[in-house]
Symmetry: C3
């Protein structure tokens, strides 16, 4: 497996925007993310960057919202070794087979036995707010937008709300 990390092309911070003002605009989109394993990290940066570029928004924000409780959104480096470390940390912090009440038919009507997925997603978070400047997503050199499938495989939905000025 490759030892390298994905690097963004624009690695310098965008210029300051002293006081842009103009027509206000909102665009809402959904990204569908099919997953293949129970626990899996997927890099959605390129798909997101393309949505931002096509939106016509020059200065603003893009808000990501996972449409699922057991599907997280966060930012980190994209490298297979680090992603293995992230999965290992999640397993250490939240054991799958601890006697969680959510998995106990005496207390819960959930038949997925996925308490670990709920708790792990809570630690990673379900949302991210990024900046748009000069019509492009603002990201540091090693920063990638990642989603975490925590109870797959399933077809997942990420909502993308873009707001700003054209």
């Amino acid at each position: 497996m490759t030892k390298r990390s994905t690097v963004n092309i624009r690695d310098i911070p965008p210029a300051d925007v002293p006081a842009a003002s103009g027509a206000f605009m909102v665009r809402g989109e959904t990204l569908t993310v099919p997953t293949e394993e129970r626990v899996e990290l997927i890099d959605v940066t390129d798909r997101l960057a393309a949505l931002v570029r096509a939106s016509g928004i020059r200065e603003g924000i893009v808000s990501l919202w996972s449409m699922h409780t057991t599907f997280a959104v966060f930012m980190n480096e994209s490298q297979k070794a680090l992603h293995a470390d992230i999965k290992r940390l999640l397993e250490t912090m939240v054991a799958r087979d601890a006697d969680w009440m959510h998995n106990d038919p005496d207390h819960s009507d959930c038949d997925r036995f996925n308490a670990d997925a709920h708790l792990r997603a809570m630690l990673l978070g379900h949302s991210l707010t990024l900046h748009v400047s000069g019509g492009e997503l603002v990201l540091g050199q090693w920063q990638r937008v990642l989603v975490a499938e925590l109870d797959g495989p399933r077809a997942r939905t990420l909502r993308v709300q873009m707001m700003g000025m054209s």
Copy 2:
């Protein structure tokens, strides 16, 4: 106690919004949340959805901000069994009675002995940014907005900033 989870009525993602533009609007509100226990999870989704509906904003975002360091805001499923698991995980990750410096009069002038509350809130987070589309809060089927009292009982304040187009 009930084994069921609260389910949202609108369980399909809202339609895409190709390029809405119009009058820009901001509304700020505060929600007061009285709490009754030291550690307590409360579902504020219905109160928040009502604020969004009354705001007159059709497409945009709603940003939640806890006005307290020991009062967290996050998203997850609303079910008593899962909420018990969340509290147990917080207790495991951050022990109340470890010898925290914030609780030590030699190092801290805080008389609440609430280091655990500060650290637990930090892991859950103090803020959430949600989407508004078609005049409604955007949420997946099982997604509920939860606040976590971590050093109660107290009267807590959640600030709600809604921004978008009418």
Copy 3:
């Protein structure tokens, strides 16, 4: 060392803003944060409050984005004792010397051996969305905006996107 925490001057929540509407505005800035230790917490609230005051935005939001994977942004109380507790918790949850794959030359081409920094930042988060009301940052009495250097010393960059109405 002082036992006291930094307190904000405006400790009452801002008034509700029933339905402000006006000219939409976006301002983007960067804050440079030089760090001096490998793991260090720094309070940037005053610098941020000054940017908001100078922005000309009266009602809106300010979104913070760390431009680095190993540099976190979060909110908590500013007190030396509590900051020592936060560092200790991070060390307990994510050991620096566990055999992380990201630190193993057989699996990773990263020569900083900083897996712990990536994982700790992931738990704290890289972004924060705050409110602006009445031309001022909205913060509770003890709330301070903190950045966490997790793989320093380095010169770090925090991007600040302010959006709202003038």
